[in-house]
């Protein structure tokens, strides 16, 4: 079920999703930009695979020690998921930073444009100011570079993890 949503191209979902967001009155708001991206099937699948790898014996041992189920989740399962969560954070951040189509649909007003929309709007039909465009593109890529250098060691692990899942 969750996997099936990964198979559908995003563009197919956009029309009904826009309809929903419009009826909620979320066009031209931050809600419309944030909430639809607030969870991801890819993330759920990634976490599921990682959680499956945690041996049941470990959880049973914790139960023997008298830990409540909630406590097991917080103290044992979540710390074991930490590398996968770091990887997920990077992937989601980069996807979001790059995404053009959804912000373009939801944010009609210039106030709510994100960087890709702004960049796309800088090239109009009559004249393209290359100095402006290149400066904007370079500055837009700075945060991704910072994220990359900060989390470099998770990156390779993440690509290996994701490739292992999809292969």
């Amino acid at each position: 079920m969750v996997l099936a949503t990964l198979m559908i191209p995003l563009e197919v979902i956009y029309v009904p999703l826009y309809d929903l967001v419009f009826k909620l009155g979320w066009t031209n708001t931050y809600w419309g930009l944030i909430i639809p991206a607030g969870t991801s099937a890819f993330g759920i699948f990634l976490m599921r695979q990682t959680t499956m790898a945690i041996p049941d014996e470990l959880l049973d041992a914790a139960r023997m020690d008298g830990a409540s189920e909630w406590r097991i989740y917080i103290r044992i399962v979540l710390p074991l998921l930490r590398p996968a969560l770091a990887v997920l954070a990077i992937f989601i951040f980069m996807n979001n930073w790059d995404s053009l189509l959804w912000p373009l649909l939801v944010a009609g007003k210039d106030n709510y444009w994100t960087l890709p929309v702004g960049l796309a709007a800088m090239q109009n039909n009559n004249e393209v100011n290359f100095s402006l465009l290149m400066a904007a593109a370079l500055e837009a890529s700075v945060p991704t570079l910072v994220v990359y250098f900060l989390l470099q060691r998770y990156f390779v692990a993440g690509i290996a993890l994701a490739a292992g899942l999809q292969g």
Partner: protein
């Protein structure tokens, strides 16, 4: 282990110093070419920012601008609502990541295994332990 020992082991494995270093040179050249290919668009972007607008599309590319216009880096902020776009992107990106980190581990814990499923139920419902 002594140096001679290492040498002996290497020659025993059929790895003379020469072939090993040839492999290294080949690898460095290959990686270097790849890195250069990836860096080229960035170099072009930087040089285009710095040169006067008229030079941007000159057909043999002039990699070095005739004048260095560092102020061009401020153009997006002066001519468009760039600071606002940046803020929006950042706000959306950060909150989406946080939302994902909160929402995503939940369904997994529910489906991972019978034992872990109990994590969610048993806190308010006395589920028979497996």
């Amino acid at each position: 282990m002594s140096l001679q020992g290492v040498e002996a082991e290497r020659s025993a494995a059929g790895l003379s110093g020469a072939t090993a270093s040839a492999g290294w040179v080949f690898r460095f050249v290959l990686l270097g070419l790849g890195a250069a290919a990836l860096a080229l668009p960035f170099a072009y972007a930087i040089s285009t920012v710095l040169k006067p607008a008229a030079e941007a599309l000159s057909v043999p590319i002039h990699w070095l601008p005739s004048r260095f216009l560092w102020a061009n880096f401020l153009l997006p902020f002066q001519q468009t609502n760039y600071g606002r776009y940046f803020f929006n992107s950042f706000l959306v990106g950060v909150s989406v990541v946080i939302l994902n980190l909160i929402t995503v581990p939940w369904p997994d814990t529910a489906s991972a295994s019978c034992a872990t499923r109990a994590v969610i139920f048993s806190s308010w419902w006395s589920w028979p332990r497996s």
